[in-house]
Each structure stands twice: as structure tokens, then as C-alpha cells.
Symmetry: C2
Subunit: 188 residues, 2 copies
């Protein structure tokens, strides 16, 4: 019980996602997840506050990583490009497309989880805007750039988890940024 | 009691906002709001499902108005300009800056209300993206343009309710759109 469990966190996340897919999010309990992972409920609660947080456990670490990456982008670039440049650092988090796709399907099918996702993205936009202001970008440019950057993030992520998509996340960020630029300048 | 009450809805909204400001949102009941407005609780529930919805009652009508306005913008314009053009139609809703500022202060100070606001804005972005696709804008341009347009909406609204601001909402939309364009193209 007290023994070190190799990759206990990952096993719990995969078990949770399997069960949410098989029986539905509402029908799955923490006890079910622990059992499927071959671990105890006590171990579950060492990693996650509740069954919802299994799906969002990485978001704080991701946000920190993206803010670190923002600090390394060229401050002479357009502010939206600075944010998009930071987003490319998510490549090291976005590796398992199948896991990410299943996770997004669970989130999309539950209002409570969609709300949690919106809050997470709003928090990311606020953090980007703060960081841009600290780099000397004035308002309203900082907030607009942060929000536009989060739109690029959402769209690139949706494309990345699409079936048959082979490009990595950073390629899709660059492509989505180019699409945003075209959408602000080019009509028909 | 059954009599027609002149501007009952507006009286209830102003009474609610006064009480949320004076005693806090959590401490205010529907009975308090009805009493302050000189109306019955029954009248309150004719207009609003609960005390939260008093703050969001107009959002569905606003969304419809903005979508109607989108249909009247030039389909040859860049998609982000189409959305921003639609946003200018909100001028007829955004008249009372003091009411809107107090409302936003109440929303900002409560997590539950901030979440409701995020959901409302996400719904607006989804509706804009659907409408753009129906006008022939392809993905990911439609979603990116809709999200960027909602960012312009948020920023223009924050500026519009700022103390000492005199410009009308549509002027601030045009200005925020220009700022967004600069933030996607111009570095330093």
C-alpha cells in the first residue's frame, strides 16, 4: 500500500479516461478508477482532489511552461506572435493524441467539464496578458493579443487531436497564427 | 397584484443591482429585490428564473441582434472585420454606462457569475463561427475570427464602462479592432 507505484498518476489518468468512455463520467466513481488502475483510493487522492481534476491535472504545469516560453520569445515581435511563439512549447506536453482526443470527448459531453475548460483557458489568457504587460506591451494590446493567442491555442489543439492529423502541435500553432493574420487582413 | 406594472423588469434589475452593491450578491434574496422594486416575488419570477439571471437577462436578445447585424456586413470584408462590424450594433443596448459598470463589478467579484459570463461569451463565439461558416468562411478561419471578435467585444466593453470614458461602444469596437490588427502585424 505504501509502496512506490510506478507511474501511479498516469495509470490513474488512463483508467479514469477508459471508464469515462465506457460507462460515462457521471457513472464513474473514484473507487472504480482506483480499482481499474490496481491502486487504492488513498493513492488516488494523493494525486487528485476529485474525479474532475484527473482531467485537468496538467493544466497548471502547462501554463507555467508556456509563460516561461513567452519570456524567451523576441520582445520586438508583434505581441500576438510572442504568444503564439510561447504556445509552440506545448509540443512536449502534447504527445499522446489518442489520450488527448478521448479526454476532449469526455469534456465536450459534460457542461460542468466544459465550464472548467473555459475557466482554465480564461486563466491562461489573463496570465499571458499580465506577462505581456510586464514585457512593456500596453493595453488594450496586451489583452487582445493574449485572447487572440488563446484562440490560436484552442484551434491548433482541436486540429491536433483530429483523426488522421499527423503534424505536430507547434506546426499547427504556426499555421493557425497565419490563418488568424489572413482573417484580419484578407477578404474576398 | 395582477395589474400591469410600468417597467417592472427594469425596476427589478435596478433594485437587484442596488442591493448586490449594498449588501453583496450572496446576501440578497429575491424577496429583498421584489420589495425594493415595490413588486411581488411572483412578478419577479415572471421575468427571471433566479437572482443570477437578473444580471444576464439581456444576453440572448443581444446575441440575436449581433447575428442579425453580422448578416448585414459586407461578405467581402476580412472575417474578423465582419464580426467587428456586427458588434457595432450593440450600441443600442449599451447606453447606461453606470448600470453596466455596477453590473460588471458584481460579476467580477463572484466566481459563479464570472463562470456564467464566460459561458455567455463562449456561446457568442460559437454562434459567430456558425454564422461565418454559413456565409462561406472556411475553418479554421471562422472559429479564429469569431474568437478574435469576441476578444474585441470584451476589450471594447471594458473600455466603454471605464470611468471618464465618453466614446460610444461602436467607436471603441473600431478602435479595438485596429489595435488587434496592429498587435498581429507590428512589433517594435
Amino acid at each position: 500500500m505504501g509502496r512506490w507505484q510506478p507511474d501511479a498518476m498516469g495509470r490513474l489518468q488512463r483508467a479514469a479516461l477508459e471508464l469515462y468512455g465506457e460507462h460515462g463520467y457521471d457513472q464513474t466513481t473514484v473507487a472504480d478508477i482506483a480499482e481499474r488502475a490496481g491502486l487504492t483510493e488513498r493513492t488516488f487522492f494523493r494525486y487528485f482532489a476529485d474525479k474532475r481534476e484527473v482531467l485537468f491535472a496538467g493544466s497548471h504545469v502547462l501554463e507555467e511552461k508556456l509563460l516561461e516560453a513567452l519570456a524567451l520569445t523576441a520582445p520586438s515581435a508583434p505581441p500576438v506572435d510572442q504568444v503564439a511563439g510561447a504556445l509552440e512549447a506545448a509540443d512536449e506536453f502534447f504527445i499522446d493524441r489518442v489520450y488527448s482526443r478521448l479526454r476532449q470527448e469526455v469534456i465536450s459531453s459534460h457542461a460542468e467539464l466544459r465550464e472548467r475548460e473555459l475557466i482554465k483557458l480564461a486563466s491562461l489568457a489573463t496570465a499571458f496578458a499580465d506577462a505581456l504587460r510586464q514585457r512593456g506591451v500596453s493595453e488594450p494590446s496586451a489583452t487582445l493579443s493574449a485572447e487572440a493567442g488563446v484562440a490560436v491555442f484552442k484551434v491548433a489543439f482541436e486540429r491536433w487531436i483530429a483523426k488522421k492529423e499527423k503534424r505536430d502541435f507547434s506546426t499547427l500553432v504556426r499555421d493557425s497564427l497565419a490563418e488568424l493574420k489572413a482573417a484580419t487582413t484578407t477578404g474576398r
